[in-house]
């Protein structure tokens, strides 16, 4: 658990005079499930976009999967998976077509693709729906599928931007089973969320407020530190302190 896959030192991101990320410092270790929490507008999506190479930082040193995000963006991108806030598959393509498209982008050979596709369909128990349009699937299925496609090329890290928006707690729980599976396979999971029950599932969480990281530790330690019963209370206490 000691290999660092994300290293962030003094990351600053400004939009004009507005500071979205104010000197962020944190590391994420291999195989860990890292929760990135914060209220809306706290700067977590901005930080995540920088880590994914979607946006350039104003200053600071950032390494993702061992590569520098300024100079080796291409290599960073090969080694990460990304699932956006909005559901990130093509609804007018079938499941198989989506898989084919995304494995094409990451250069997976057709032979590997077929083998992996079979495993994926079996795991999600959707073999019969292989040729149905993604748009016709229920939301819970779509999200599980989107996650499976995001890690289809076996990235070192997968970034999930509020992946479970709009689904019920049971479906969310099932989704998290997939996340644990991926983590067991050694894939690091970096997830933003504002559902506090989800925060409980993470190994470590960081809580952001107004562009700064206010707290970063395991969920156990945070609860002890803030004398709170659950993450929800931790979150509220931190939010009150910064106001």
């Amino acid at each position: 658990m000691n290999e660092k896959v994300i290293e962030v030192h003094n990351l600053v991101k400004k939009f004009g005079s507005f500071v979205a990320n104010d000197h962020l410092n944190f590391d994420v270790y291999k195989g860990e499930i890292f929760g990135f929490l914060g209220a809306n507008g706290a700067g977590k999506t901005t930080a995540m976009k920088i880590l994914c190479g979607l946006s350039a930082p104003t200053s600071g040193d950032v390494k993702v999967a061992g590569f520098d995000i300024y100079k080796e963006t291409e290599k960073v991108k090969r080694n990460i998976g990304y699932m956006s806030q909005k559901f990130s598959l093509y609804e007018d393509l079938t499941i198989a077509e989506n898989i084919r498209f995304f494995s094409g982008i990451y250069g997976i050979s057709p032979k590997d693709r077929k083998a992996k596709q079979e495993i994926l369909l079996k795991n999600l128990d959707i073999e019969s729906a292989k040729d149905s349009l993604v748009g016709s699937l229920p939301l819970g299925w779509k999200q599980k599928l989107a996650f499976s496609v995001a890690i289809f090329h076996d990235p070192k890290i997968v970034f999930l931007d509020e992946p479970t928006g709009g689904v019920d707690p049971i479906t969310r729980r099932k989704f998290w089973d997939l996340i644990y599976e991926a983590s067991d396979r050694g894939i690091t999971v970096f997830v933003t969320t504002h559902y506090m029950d989800e925060a409980e599932y993470c190994n470590r969480v960081s809580i952001m407020s107004e562009g700064r990281i206010e707290a970063l530790d395991t969920t156990e330690n945070l609860k002890k530190q803030y004398a709170a019963k659950n993450m929800d209370e931790v979150f509220l206490k931190i939010a009150r302190n910064t106001e």
Binding site: Q85, D92, L93, F101, I105
Partner: protein, 369 residues
């Protein structure tokens, strides 16, 4: 390259799966050409006229039959002397009344002069003008050919009119270039801007940008299918124009296709530019429709002559790409001119393409920051 082919396959799947896109790409061009070519034609056929013949002699009868056999007119009513001419107009039965004065033949033979009156319903001024022009043309033609041979007239100036490049004054000659410009704008600019902003709206653009694909590959991948489809459309419109409507291609076919290709490139870069500005599909569509389609129809010289516009509109028309493209196609197809005479317009299109591409790159970077 493999990545790129995979991307193209995906794009074509999007296009072929969406009935609305298919209709816009394959239905609209043909329907519009047919509409403009056949229905909304400014040519007049079978207009109803009334004849009021006060002489009923040989010549007036011959002239009447000439008029009616020309294809432009049909006899709606025969009026008797003294009948109220205005009431026929008010009832809307006819568009024009042709009145021959009394003793027409006699006057013509003796004095070389006779009276015909054309009364037209100018509540529709364009039609009225065209009808009277047709009718006076037919009448003077007849008189010149049939009658004046035997009569020696004092010196007079004969004005002879020939309509070069479109002898029959067919309006479809005017519509084919215009529709081509319009359709290519529609498909290239609107469809690309919609398809790119759709990815943004659905969140898949972020996934693509977070993948090893380079932004330029993404943009090229989105644009290439529309480049192909637009080119097929340009060909279809030209072929329909030539084989269905008989519009000639007097100049070089390759030059025509080359200029069309240039125009498509220009429109595609404009589409990319729109997509960098528009946050979602709706906005992209509105910008394309209101900002491009309407000005193209109204101000590009497609239907209304630019020379007749007030100065501010003439200035605006200069920044519309179709305005230049229409000049180019008319020159190549109807006049048969070569690049020597249209290089200025070509340069304008090239300049516009570069401007749009530069602006898109600038905007795209700002978005990524």
């Amino acid at each position: 390259m493999k990545q790129f082919i995979g991307f193209l396959r995906k794009e074509f799947l999007h296009i072929f799966r969406d009935p609305r896109t298919m209709i816009i790409i394959f239905g609209i061009p043909v329907v519009q050409l047919m509409l403009f070519g056949k229905v909304i034609s400014t040519d007049i056929q079978n207009a109803k006229i009334a004849i009021l013949d006060q002489s009923h002699d040989n010549i007036t009868r011959k002239i009447t039959s000439k008029l009616l056999s020309s294809g432009y007119f049909v006899l709606g009513e025969e009026l008797l002397p003294g009948e109220d001419v205005e009431s026929v107009f008010r009832q809307g039965k006819v568009k024009m009344v042709v009145t021959f004065g009394p003793e027409f033949e006699y006057n013509l033979e003796r004095d070389g002069k006779a009276d015909v009156q054309l009364l037209a319903d100018a509540s529709d001024p364009n039609t009225a003008r065209i009808l009277t022009n047709y009718a006076s043309g037919i009448i003077s033609d007849y008189v010149k050919k049939e009658k004046l041979q035997n009569i020696q007239l004092p010196d007079q100036i004969n004005v002879e009119v020939r309509m070069l490049y479109n002898e029959g004054l067919k309006s479809v000659y005017m519509f084919v270039p215009g529709i081509m410009a319009m359709i290519l704008m529609l498909i290239s600019s609107m469809m690309t801007s919609i398809s790119i902003s759709k990815e943004k709206e659905l969140g898949t653009m972020e996934v693509l940008l977070a993948s090893p694909l380079k932004p330029i590959q993404i943009v090229l991948g989105k644009v290439t299918p529309y480049l192909l489809l637009s080119f097929i459309n340009a060909l279809t419109i030209i072929l329909l124009g030539v084989f269905v409507f008989g519009v000639p291609i007097k100049g070089s076919f390759f030059l025509l296709m080359g200029e069309s290709f240039l125009f498509i490139l220009m429109a595609l870069s404009l589409g990319i530019l729109i997509s960098t500005v528009a946050p979602n599909q709706m906005v992209a569509m509105f910008i394309s429709l209101l900002g491009l389609m309407l000005p193209t129809i109204l101000l590009s010289g497609f239907i209304f002559p630019i020379q007749n516009m007030p100065l501010p509109l003439r200035i605006v028309s200069n920044i519309l790409p179709p305005r230049w493209f229409i000049v180019i196609i008319r020159n190549i197809m109807l006049k048969g001119t070569g690049i020597m005479y249209i290089w200025k317009e070509t340069m304008v299109l090239i300049f516009m393409s570069f401007t749009f591409i530069a602006l898109s790159i600038k905007n795209f970077k700002i978005r990524l920051e």
